[in-house]
Symmetry: C2
Subunit: 661 residues, 2 copies
Amino acid sequence: MTNTNRIYELSEIADEKLKNCEKVEQEIIFELKSLLSYGGYVGLAQINPIVGDIEYNSKKIANYIKYAESIGLDMIVFPELSIMGYPIEDTIDRHPMIVQENIKWLEGLAKITRKTTAIVGFVEQRAKSVGKRFYNSAAVLQNGEIKGIVRKSLLPTYCEFNDYRYTEPSSLSGMQLSNTLATGECVQADSKLFNGCAITICEDCWNDSEFFDRVLYSRNPIEELAAEKPKLFINCSASPSRAKKEQLKHNMLSFISSKYKTPFVYVNQVGATDSISFDGTSRVYNSKGELVARAKSFEEQLLIVNPEKGIGKIYPLTKGLEKSLTEQKVFTLEYESDLERTYKTIIQGIRDYFNKCGLKRAVLGLSGGLDSTVCAVLLADAIGKENVFGVSMPSGITSIESKSDAEELAVNLGINFMEAPIGEMVTTTTKCLNKIFEIVESKWDFRYKKSFTPDNVQARSRAMFLWGISNEFASCIPIATSDKSELYMGYATINGDMSGGFAPIADVPKTKLFAFARWLNANREQKNAIPEAVILKKPGAELAIDPKTGKPLIAEDALMPYEFLDEIIWRIENKNECYNDFLNIEFVYEKHNEVTNEQKKEWLDKFYKRMSAALYKWSILPPTVIVEARSINKFDYRQPITSGRINYKGYDKSYIAQVLS
Amino acid sequence: MTNTNRIYELSEIADEKLKNCEKVEQEIIFELKSLLSYGGYVGLAQINPIVGDIEYNSKKIANYIKYAESIGLDMIVFPELSIMGYPIEDTIDRHPMIVQENIKWLEGLAKITRKTTAIVGFVEQRAKSVGKRFYNSAAVLQNGEIKGIVRKSLLPTYCEFNDYRYTEPSSLSGMQLSNTLATGECVQADSKLFNGCAITICEDCWNDSEFFDRVLYSRNPIEELAAEKPKLFINCSASPSRAKKEQLKHNMLSFISSKYKTPFVYVNQVGATDSISFDGTSRVYNSKGELVARAKSFEEQLLIVNPEKGIGKIYPLTKGLEKSLTEQKVFTLEYESDLERTYKTIIQGIRDYFNKCGLKRAVLGLSGGLDSTVCAVLLADAIGKENVFGVSMPSGITSIESKSDAEELAVNLGINFMEAPIGEMVTTTTKCLNKIFEIVESKWDFRYKKSFTPDNVQARSRAMFLWGISNEFASCIPIATSDKSELYMGYATINGDMSGGFAPIADVPKTKLFAFARWLNANREQKNAIPEAVILKKPGAELAIDPKTGKPLIAEDALMPYEFLDEIIWRIENKNECYNDFLNIEFVYEKHNEVTNEQKKEWLDKFYKRMSAALYKWSILPPTVIVEARSINKFDYRQPITSGRINYKGYDKSYIAQVLS
């Protein structure tokens, strides 16, 4: 075994201790120290902080710092805002005392440092009378002191990012004087570099106008620092995992390190904050832009590297992602390369939401359909099968197959299972409602001839059961099982299936969900947990009978083919295309199916009408896991509910002239 | 009658037509034209746009422009983003086609202009490769052309504002060349002024460092333009109504106009977009900082003024607001001066949400308690008593008084009313749940000895009825009746009383609600609609019996005195105070009641614990009307749900040193 291999073997043992805030065994420390004695080693500490829990985070950081010192690392680098956790959002604006407290912990951390330099992210208050009240900062700690401060210049404010809501951009890049801490002053230190290192925070490295067609900011801190000829770039990040982002990130960081002929150390937060899942996957590029080290994805780790000597270890990306390090430009049903990442993103999202909220158990309805099935599998893997209760809640419409598929799944997974028919609830509710409706009808007109009330009563009766269990048993929440395609169409019942404490697959489109189910069957340790019948059957809510067929209504008949629907969603979210673009584009679905122009228009009209009406539902969605490149999660995308009258088809100029004349 | 009085008499008749996009009668036009023939008149067109409905907005704007031309105004000024409506939020980022469309309508509007200059707000795309994709702009239209463009420099990004999420700050203030339209270039026109007028957009006038102790931006467009010696400042705004904001706004605009010895024309949007209610109240200050004209609040109006001659009319503010044109610095139970504004804000909020979403009718539970009572009154006033259905849904716990109070209120208001007991629903649900719980208990431990399930089943049964009615009858939504104090404490049932299509009083604290009820009784046309008993009774959910008293549990016993609770909330939101501050402050409640230090700590501990657990509930709140200076509305305030472990008490330095050592 080479020395390098041995470093990583020992590190993996140490990581298990560090994750749990425990001390690493002396023998391991001793051996590692001798292996690292040549010097020049840097630790990439990708930790999973709990947002706002500055005591927990600081203790964790302290444990890593002490360990780094004990094995003789030159430097240990933590992610963005590591003491506070990212993103803390408006919390610090309303409760600024926690910012003062995080400074106290920062000063405490400085005191425990010795030779090993630690770079630690924190929120810094600004006493100044111009600008926002805070900076997003990182402190350089060494020998018991704060040696300098780096402040974030570029503040992402789009999608899930809201940095400019509560932090002020720094006017300077690089090292600033430590005696400006919490004053709000930006004063350059003697050098912009610390020991030859150019330190930046997250977005500060995402603005190279040679790499991007379009950049968001006029300054480029990397370029400003490159002028100082650093020996190393260091970036402290909190960068969420989203579809196709890994490729972009890899290409960009590789481009920057080769452009400036300077190695690049990138340290990313891991773990989830509410809907946002950070993937870790910290890494180092050498001065040729080649990847020399990469940490694990979705796991806490301290990755030891020697950036100047190019010593490191490249842990694999989630499977499939390796293959396609180019950006996806077209819609495709080939989801394979993104399914392991999807899986790990959601598992981490569920697990961290539960852990960080003090939850332990989940209850969900098992309909025998694809959505609840996939949710059950993910929950079993994320929080343990013993902590999942699947409840089959058949109505008169529910087929024998649906019941047996649900039970088979539960048995396969080993989760808790019960059947609780909703017939009695539906009967009583319907009886009560019919009386009520008669009275209402004596006062109000416009009663629907064919309403969704019977469908919704079923869905809400089920939710009544699930919320009941969550109220009665400690640390338990019900799960909302809606998928992205159906949420886009508002095809979910308020206080029914769209209600819950968490919505694991709300950002997974239906066509991807089919591929995902097959992937789960093939790639989980336990093969084929999902009954084949669940994957083969056509999705439908089993809430109403189609008068044409006498069988339960199929969702695609009520909506449109999922392949077509998912392509509209993808094109809107990824390409910002609109109604008229769609008319002129051949959809993947059209390559295999005859679609008349009339039919296409009907589907498009239905899509925009339903989407506009769904905006309210989006606003009350429970926390979801953001998975795709764009989403309808309300921390990622905001559209006024009252904007439902937007005309997405646009106008002729002659029509405009006529209306205004 | 003086000429001036006659101008306003005629204008009020014209306003009724303009509001409905109708043509004003020729006689009125003729007479007004002669009254205004001296020239120098400006129209402040405070319109109520529908966000994203650019056809509706443009038609309305065109009608005003044509009218302004017909009566010979020099200029007509519209609010910020008047073609698009404010705030359009991320919608334009995802669907940029609507921005291109709004440019087409802008060009159409330019073509219909003649002598009268029109200043119209719109969203402008930027072709440039640096920065966000849009500007928040206003165009100066005259003689069929776009004469110049003004672009917003200061982008509010806090509370309900998210401008920097989707728009780029302009690097220049004042007039820019019209041939830069949609290019993304900022190029100064020959003069920064248009005909001597210095035009700015909203936040651009909110950054005077002499007026504010703290300013958010380093530039001050007003100061930049003042250097050009304008004869007039013009500001196009979309500024929401919030507690105490009027005073601040008045003081600031008065300060600026007197500081620069220049009259100031301020035109504000009116109407609500989702949770945000804009109050209009456009106004003009003369060069001494004196108010010379002020439009109505919460109503569309075209206010005609002659800023240089000081001709105008001052319409009254909402009652009470006049008296206290100083900023409130302390918590007080004296709500009187803000109650009419509160009323109008909520009425407009409800009405516009319903109108803009195509809704007509509301159904709500009437418990005989304060919250549902006040909601019923507000709904009756906002959408018409015939469109409101009050449903009394008694359970076994419900007192005779609660039932009769509910009915008395409904009769007083003339709204539709019915009684629908929930006994049968509760019995069936409880029976089903008990069976379910037995099975769950065979697999899971930690069943609560005393759970909230029975309480929640009642609340959810009621919601089942209300949502049923909303599903069965067209254009109808159920109303969530929770108030701010109880939402802060999570004292509301998910899928029960906190669920609904709209939450009218979710930003009104309980102590204010008592004052508000009395105000409604005294100030509505129909006096004393609210039974005195409703105001006198102690609030409680009537969901459970207090074992100590044998009577329904009182909310203040479960929580803490509302006066104390509301002061904590006010201090956190308005003063950013924290746990330790509260220990050292005497609360208003303490002036009249003996409170031991131990008791105070107990309440504070309970407050922070309950608030931390309520964060999830805040995230799924239906749209509310933002009323107070700060709120928990999710478009106004965002805190991660997983931040529930924040220690709001802070830490001793010695404790920190010990933990980290």
